[in-house]
């Protein structure tokens, strides 16, 4: 059964690596919901969070195929491990001074922050799971949402473990063991 999966992928920060990862998903018909990439605290290492739809076999194959990329340092599927995941969204609402307070009050309920206020608009920032962001958008919609932008999910497992880069699953067939 296909379900939503989250992969944390550490890659070398080199030109074209994002393209290699994206091309792999396209070529093998793996279905991406979101892909987020940014640098990490380690020099030369970028980290991707990839959310996609996959069944158990496909998930193993995604992992094994990512490992075939020479620039891919480590792959961890954190779908079923305790973890935190966040999206960030900016939402611009078209309100004047008269109804501004109402909007700000709603934002407060959702723990969203106003980051820009103009005579006829407000930009609010919200982080959280996609359904929370969706919830805020729905309550703001009647006021007139002018535009919005959001990131894909960034995710991290809980606990004190440290990723050993370049040694993930080395000398082991665990990525392919039947689930």
């Amino acid at each position: 059964m296909a379900r939503t999966r989250t992969f944390v992928v550490h890659v070398e920060n080199k030109p074209g690596v994002l393209n290699r990862v994206a091309s792999l998903f396209r070529r093998r018909s793996f279905n991406i919901d979101s892909l987020n990439v940014g640098t990490t605290h380690e020099p030369g290492v970028s980290r991707m969070t990839i959310v996609c739809q996959a069944d158990d076999d496909t998930a193993k194959r995604i992992e094994a195929n990512l490992y075939k990329l020479v620039n891919c340092l480590r792959v961890d599927e954190i779908t079923d491990v305790p973890s935190v995941g966040r999206n960030l969204a900016l939402i611009k609402v078209g309100v004047d001074a008269e109804r501004r307070a109402e909007v700000l009050q709603l934002c407060d309920v959702f723990r969203a922050r106003p980051i820009d206020v103009g005579p006829e608009s407000v930009v609010v920032e919200i982080t959280g799971a996609p359904d929370k962001i969706e919830g805020l958008v729905e309550v703001l919609r009647p006021f007139g949402v002018l535009e919005m932008v959001q990131t894909g999910t960034v995710a991290m497992a809980r606990g004190a473990q440290k990723y050993e880069l370049g040694n993930g699953h080395h000398n082991s067939s665990s990525p392919v063991r039947a689930a």
Partner: protein, 593 residues
């Protein structure tokens, strides 16, 4: 050659320095603007350059060289069209896991992205058809990129690597540094060791099995596991079926070798697979041409899959025991602990299946005055004593060769299996010739495929090399015609093909051409080819509407084969609708001869 480490060299010189140190003695290529600095520096280095007639030929030659030698094949091309012409050969090498390094020139780094003259983003184009690729824009990066490229190409599951080098990087200079320490790439793990628990489970299954069968794939040969496989079979008495690329990995004349499996595998092989209770798959990937309909594929069999590439496990066929590792290593660990077993019941069953098929074998049919492709290939096998290095193209002749030329040794059959690239054979054979200068090399090719890369006859002439070319000429794109006959009610759309006079074509290149129209002429022609210096082209005018049997239609169950007709061929049975209607061979009668 002087050791120039520490000297200041141009990028072009660094390129050849690196290649020499990687053991390259021959490369195949075609010059052009963006790779000219590299060509200008070449004469000072002990590397023979073969000028091809088309870059596709260069990539197939590098491929053929790699397949025949086991070493990394190298091809060189300029930017833009030169690089894109390599693409078919690179994709061919990718699907068959062939170690190859393709070096391309690129426009100067300052012009990249400007749609400059002959600019193509070749690293972008080849991204999905290479194991890895590099864009090199500075001379300092040339040596490290090439070292990594050779390492990646040959290690683990081999594959092609493209190194795209800008013209300015070739022109500029830097200090030549060479690091002899083994390459360590943080994200690249080519070696997997099998887990002991997987080996235990495999041993259990092998020792319990009543109707086991071993699959020998390309990985047996590439992993140099042919000797161990032989030991394994001697001890366990398990019958072996080969994939197309696995032919030669286990001696064809060994009594336990059943032959090729899959779409055009012999009926006893496919039936045995369907009846087996254990498949031990070694270095193969359950391609759709091997399995047929996956739903009913070897339904009763447990499956052990020994494979170096973890991404192949459970890709097509769900297996019970995956063993990620090198075939040689795994067999070495299993061998001492597998138990000999009495297989007489299982082998007896397979013998019964064989007996049923043998009566249909065209090889034993009386000479009716007609020339069948199967006869040509069987005769070629006899007159070369099974020892030739045979390079086949793609189509009917390729399958007939796989059925009728019995290869007892590895690296004696080179063929494009995964991609099925027509035009592969002639250039690949030229490459193989440079790897094996003392072997008898035969190209077996159709009249369609040979015309795709026939320009390389000129390369044979310029290089003064000898390959024997057997054109199985039936005036059709034979395999497509066969599908049209079987599945499209005999509508021969775009498959009848008019060819040039291949003998005159050979002569025009200064080569020797021979025409054969009857079986009695086959031996004299083969003998003459063997005795003649230089490349010989034999135009075998074979039956036009002959079909390859058995055949598992695409998507059908493996056991559901179209079988070979039981009776000797007669016109009514073998001729397709076109010849039946016209009563003559329309293509051959259009020429002057």
């Amino acid at each position: 050659m002087p050791d120039r480490v520490g000297e200041t060299l141009t990028g072009a010189q660094l390129l050849w320095e690196a290649l020499v140190r990687e053991g390259v003695s021959v490369c195949f290529g075609y010059p052009g603007g963006a790779i000219m600095p590299a060509y200008d520096a070449l004469p000072k280095y002990p590397i023979h350059h073969v000028l091809t007639r088309h870059e596709q030929g260069a990539s197939h030659m590098a491929d053929g060289y790699a397949r025949a030698s086991g070493k990394v094949g190298v091809c060189v091309a300029t930017s833009g069209p030169g690089a894109t012409n390599l693409v078919t050969g690179i994709a061919t090498a990718m699907l068959d896991s062939i170690p190859m390094v393709a070096i391309t020139g690129q426009v100067p780094s300052g012009l990249i992205g400007s749609d400059a003259f002959q600019e193509t983003d070749i690293t972008g184009v080849t991204l999905p058809i290479t194991k890895h690729n590099y864009l090199v824009t500075r001379p300092e990066e040339i040596v490290p990129a090439l070292r990594e490229a050779f390492y990646i190409a040959r290690s683990g599951r081999p594959g092609p690597v493209v190194v795209d080098i800008t013209k300015d990087a070739q022109q500029q200079s830097c200090t030549f540094e060479w690091d002899d320490t083994p390459i360590a790439l943080p994200g690249y793990r080519p070696d997997y060791s099998p887990l002991s628990e997987d080996l235990e489970r495999a041993l259990e299954l092998i020792n319990e099995a009543k109707r086991p069968i071993v699959f020998a794939g390309h990985g047996v040969m590439r992993g140099q596991a042919t000797g161990r496989l032989l030991d394994f079979i001697q001890k366990t008495d398990i019958p072996v079926a080969c994939t197309l690329l696995g032919l030669g990995g286990f001696p064809a004349t060994h009594p336990r070798n059943l032959g090729m499996m899959g779409m055009h595998g012999e009926a006893w092989v496919n039936t045995a697979i369907q009846e087996s209770d254990l498949i031990i798959a070694l270095g193969m990937r359950f391609d759709d041409r091997v399995t047929g309909n996956l739903k009913n594929y070897a339904a009763e069999a447990k499956k052990i899959h020994v494979e170096l590439d973890p991404a192949e496990i459970n890709k097509n066929v769900r297996v019970d025991v995956p063993i990620v590792g090198d075939v040689r290593d795994v067999l070495g660990k299993l061998l001492p602990r597998v138990q000999p077993s009495d297989r007489s019941e299982w082998l007896g069953r397979i013998d019964a299946l064989k007996g049923d098929a043998a009566v249909r074998d065209i090889k034993y049919m009386p000479d009716s005055g007609k020339l069948y492709a199967a006869h040509v290939i069987h005769d070629l096998y006899r007159f070369t004593e099974g020892a030739a290095l045979v390079v086949t193209d793609v189509g009917q002749h390729q399958m007939w060769e796989a059925q009728y030329y019995k290869h007892d040794h590895p690296r004696k059959l080179l063929t494009s299996g995964g991609l099925g690239t027509m035009g592969f054979a002639l250039p690949a054979a030229i490459g193989a010739r440079f790897a094996k200068p003392d072997e008898e090399v035969w190209v077996v090719v159709g009249d369609g495929g040979v015309q795709m890369t026939a320009c390389e006859f000129s390369t044979c002439a310029q290089e003064g090399i000898k390959v024997n070319v057997a054109i199985i000429n039936n005036g059709f794109l034979g395999m497509v015609r066969q599908w049209q006959e079987f599945f499209y009610e005999g509508r021969y759309v775009a498959t009848p093909m008019v060819s040039p006079d291949f003998c005159k074509l050979a002569e025009a290149h200064g080569l020797t051409g021979i025409r054969v129209t009857a079986r009695s002429e086959v031996e004299p022609a083969v003998r003459k080819a063997q005795e003649t210096d230089g490349t010989v082209v034999i135009d075998f005018r074979v039956e036009q509407e002959d079909a390859v049997y058995p055949m598992v239609p695409a998507g059908a169950d493996l056991g559901d084969m179209i079988r070979r007709p039981e009776e000797p061929a007669t016109d009514a049975k073998t001729k397709g609708p076109l010849s039946r209607a016209l009563g003559h061979n329309p293509i051959f009668e259009t020429g002057e001869d």
